[in-house]
Symmetry: C2
Subunit: 214 residues, 2 copies
């Protein structure tokens, strides 16, 4: 009987191929992971597999900010204790978590679901830009903070969205008297570092973008 690949079992081959589809998981690792799974009870394997099926079937993307959520509106967007006048624009759910972990931000978010990247065939229409434009039309937002990657694609995306949002006519009550402010998270030296070990680009930016202390 001809065997697919070099494995003694077609069932095993299929499982290894599936594991292999995960980023960074090569075939040898895939086999090791599958065999680890196989050593478990049938119940544990069901728990494993069903977690992903359940996630895919039942997960929501928050109607307001597009973050992952178990409910139509995520806990952050539906919270009464958040500052609803500030929206922080991020690339993905990991960035929301990263900022939440700082404990330094109490506003809302807007998750783009990616950044503009021609090389990856991601255009403005592929990420949540228009929904952000709708939000500033109707919500009492006073500040948009851009917290995208400090890369060329991240900066390009910030520039694009900034320009797009400036076109939006704000209809929220009182908005005419309060122009929308745009800001961007600071670039500079990381805390705890020495100057001579900081890369030139970052160090150069930290000088150019120096902040007044008096």
């Amino acid at each position: 009987m001809a065997m697919a690949g070099d494995l003694p079992s077609e069932l095993l081959e299929q499982a290894v191929q599936q594991m292999n589809t995960l980023p960074g998981v090569g075939r040898k690792t895939a086999l090791r992971l599958v065999l680890n799974l196989l050593r478990r009870d049938e119940r544990e394997v069901e728990t494993f597999a069903n977690a992903f099926l359940r996630l895919k079937k039942e997960i929501h993307y928050c109607r307001c900010c597009h973050n992952l959520s178990d409910t139509e509106v995520c806990p952050i967007c539906s919270s009464r204790s958040r500052d609803r006048r500030i929206v922080c624009v991020v690339e993905n759910v990991q960035d929301v978590m990263a900022i939440e972990n700082t404990g330094q931000y109490n506003g809302l978010y807007h998750v783009l679901g990616g950044i503009i990247s021609p090389m990856d065939a991601v255009g403005p229409q592929d990420i949540e830009i228009e929904s952000l434009a709708s939000r500033i039309e109707t919500e009492p937002i006073r500040e948009i903070i851009f917290a995208l990657p400090t890369t060329m694609e991240g900066d390009t995306t910030t520039f694009y969205i900034h320009r797009r949002l400036q076109q939006v006519e704000r209809k929220a009550q009182g908005a005419e008297n309060e122009p929308l402010v745009f800001s961007q998270i600071a670039r500079g030296m990381a805390i705890g570092n020495e100057l001579e070990y900081t890369d030139e680009v970052t160090l150069g930016r930290s000088i150019v973008n120096r902040q007044m202390i008096s």
Copy 2:
């Protein structure tokens, strides 16, 4: 609403925890893998999850050699073109594959499913030793090749099995005239290496275990 961990969704948390159970997969990697999965179609996620469910439910362990198999008897054990007089004892399915890939072996196998390791709470009763004893009782086996890891645990396992098998009374026809031969795969320098870059233990063994050339 209190959130488990730092993720915005309990569904996501469960999936990440499950991915995290895989060896070598930390929480950050688990999140990255789960989000990759989430970006796929529902159908692709079903294919992914079901491959593991199917594997666990339907996989067989070969009745003869305990290798993974889609059928009760694996293709190697049921093959008419294999030399049924030689059985190569290995630790696991990856070792069967490794030896098959050399193209240098045409006998049968016996997969122990582990090696004796007190530190990992694996004793002789936890691996397929008795089934091997049964095999040499009834099958026309002339040689047992030990191909276990060249570690202390591997050598201990080889020693234990060797001693156990010598106790077995062979009932196969003609077996009394043909004593069972035991061999072990060679230790020595790997092919393509320089002596000075070979570790001392291996180099020392390669001298002690030198093979006659004339």
